[in-house]
Symmetry: D2
Subunit: 282 residues, 4 copies
């Protein structure tokens, strides 16, 4: 019988590994009479780092809970308390529709617990599609602008919507460091290759040239280096000699949209932890 | 430099296996000065049956080409000459949007060379989605009708559009033999399980109960027996103990839509041959 | 700097879910000055059951540790403390070599931390292979024996070796309930199909008949019902119309041996929990 | 009713594409009263190259058959006539047992129609394993030799056995151009990564560092450039943050041996055609 003040929240802890961490954190939750719906943790023994995701249910007093945790955790700890539930994203696009279409469908008809606040394109190609789903489309053309100027205009548009994440759904421009730093660990990209193979432009043509028998896609956080951020999810499909570069591109689109959507599902559920150039998914 | 009368057509041959069949057929094409763009054949040695798909380019005289083939092929042969290019389908739905959405996206933005002439639902749930893509939606409710009456009304609606294929995109009703026989080898269904496991209703719940570690989907032609027609394509994903039946259902939706779309791609390209309860895909 | 009394052990807990379980168990470990190398837990909210696998390192006082746990855990709890390290198995075979060969290779050259104490066959076909690896082979022919008599002779042979697990590596006979009950949750089988499809004999021929586009294999615990025990692991490969039943069988063998070996790897690491007809793998 | 002179042979044709090629080749086979058991062809329209594999059964007059073909095919054609059946290989190894073990098992117990004439190692580590299968093991140590001298000694050993192919089953040395040119399109390697990612040494450690979520293996022909020859087959498995580099290595071994064995299966069946840096598999 859910009481009106009963909430579900997600506690995320990253800290240096130490004896008794699980006991300390779960004791505090127990003391606060919070029920642990789901708990997952991981210790990276190579770097001595502890990760824990705790899904809690009960009546929260955020301030005292966090203060109690701060008293118990070692120095250098990061702990975040997120409410569960729907997140808000802004999607950046260029001309290709498939990843955007999948996000629009899943936002509207189920599959991703997400509100698409707006779609921003540097071309107008996808405006009609977006408006079919009653979502605002903003054209921010890069014509006549430096990369820095364009990214600054994008930031201004995006920030109006205060999104939790910025999703690059085949946005085909390289972002400036200023843009990336403005959204730390908040920008998610789908790269149309199995990274780190075929970094850079026209990966399907590179794949065709190399005669590979598998093509793939990679969803990753964007950091300063192009195509080099922490990988969240990857998947592949088998191809053969009958595939032209165009056939690879067509077949690859399904992989791209699936990988992006599955990665986003885990990000939205607060399951993905970034450290260094790696992710832990709990 | 394409001449205005140059066309591309697909010749499909099924006949009893015999010595020299490839030579005979390709000789006739050669004599007609048709270029073989792509040729694939298969002999089922168990049943002594020969299958060939020949993609031809040139100036066609259909009547003499087919007459020449009839003169050369053994008795009991079937040969069909199809023009290459866009096909037309009618899609049947109930309430679930994911397969339909993928077809709408691919028809409108690339990925399937298909015109969706209309979508017919036995519920009105998906009307808005269909109309967003400027495609006619027809509600043919089953309320108060026998199965036979309802299917008869569906047939009347479908036949107005003269589709090449009828695609069941999560249409959750069993079809009558009369319906199936009205569209021989033209009705394609996506079944939400890895057939022949979990035939029947609520396959994800069955899968959960059984504790499987993999779930899948099956695209198949519909014949008289429920869930028993010739399989075109199947795919799976791995699941684990953390998946509830609902999680399986959500994850399974992506597999369903991918499998349906990949199966349809091959059907539209005239690559799928049905014989008995099996398919040959050339 | 490892002290000579420092050991690694695995604590496995299954109990009714309750508030504070993780805190209670990890507190006790902390009090015993045991380091948690790795901890994984899962709550099945449907049945209200809590599962936890805790890999501990330190100086163990087993008796007081277990007594402390018994004092803290709710009624109906099961907790087991296993030493980490090499396990011992007996392998049952009939005539097919591939799964056995993979186990022999991995036991001798790495990949599975397991000692194969003996191989028992109801045919002598594989005797040479086993002896090549300097492992005892026992022939226990079923000729002239009832199923009960034969299984009784098998039990006598097996029990001499006191194995942790009995692995059926393509042992092609149905076991009696008496045999299965003699080794509760200790008998692991590889079934040459994607269960629950194609239960019973000649699954590859069944798969061929049905015209499936995917074949698979299933590793599972054996319980009373044939082919019906809790599933540990499954995998599949794609096939097409060019595969005869024999081709499926040949291709399937690699899947079978991979799935058996991967399942066994997790069982040996004490990661697999059985409850009802399901497994939780932590 | 097989006549004693009835044989099965495989005709492989590579030539510039032209109208009527299939007709011409199959006509000649028909004229020779050879039955086409299986025929596969492919045209690479980008380079205008035609590939055909024709499995024939009948009474062969090789000289006149080839002469007839030479009269009909365009200039620059390559046609080869191979007897069907068991091939002979020499396997090169260093210290790792898993790929070798799989080849030994499949050669002895079914799965690959191949005779392992000898195994040559630059270390003695695997001598016992090879001798368990009654196959000669030759140690050709590289100690104190230049790369050229060592490869020359290897060639001398290998050539004694006149193998059809040389299989590198985790042979961890770079081969000299002289070695590679001595066995054109006859040297097959398994590379422990998903090429072209992680070229070079310690690919699993590179993969771990990059934080990938998938690891793979690649079977390819060896040409002059290290890790750069035509790819025959690739496969992957999913990994996650819990995998250390060593875990990736262990899990990767199963992929390596499966990919090598599946690639070799197609090579032995004369299904793999090399052109430029690509393969066509018919």
């Amino acid at each position: 019988m859910p009481h009106q003040n009963i909430q579900r929240k997600i506690l995320r802890t990253i800290c240096p590994d130490a004896k008794g961490l699980i006991a300390k954190i779960t004791n505090i939750c127990y003391k606060h009479e919070l029920n642990i719906v789901q708990n997952n943790e991981f210790v990276d023994h190579l770097t001595g780092r502890f990760f824990m995701r705790t899904e809690l249910e009960g009546i929260f007093n955020d301030a005292t809970l966090l203060a109690d945790l701060d008293g118990a955790l070692p120095q250098g700890s990061v702990r975040e308390l997120h409410s569960a539930g729907r997140r808000r994203i802004v999607v950046l696009v260029t001309k290709e529709a498939h990843c955007l279409g999948d996000l629009l469908m899943k936002s509207a008809y189920g599959g991703l617990d997400v509100e698409i606040a707006a779609v921003i394109g540097n071309h107008a190609t996808l405006q009609t599609l977006v408006e079919r789903f009653d979502i605002p489309f903003c054209l921010v053309s890069h014509e006549g602008l430096t990369r820095e100027q364009h990214d600054q205009k994008m930031i201004e548009q995006i920030d109006q919507y205060q999104p939790d994440y910025v999703v690059l759904a085949k946005y085909m421009r390289v972002l400036t460091p200023a843009f990336v730093q403005h959204y730390p660990n908040q920008v998610i990209n789908i790269h149309h290759s199995f990274l780190p193979a075929f970094i850079g432009a026209r990966p399907y043509h590179q794949a065709y040239e190399r005669g590979v028998k598998i093509i793939g896609a990679t969803a990753h956080y964007v950091n300063d280096s192009l195509d080099e951020g922490p990988i969240i999810m990857q998947d592949v499909i088998h191809v053969d000699h009958t595939y032209s570069a165009e056939d690879m591109m067509r077949a690859g689109r399904d992989v791209e949209k699936n990988v992006l959507s599955r990665a986003l599902y885990r990000v939205l559920a607060q399951r993905v932890f970034v450290y260094g150039n790696r992710t832990v998914i709990l």
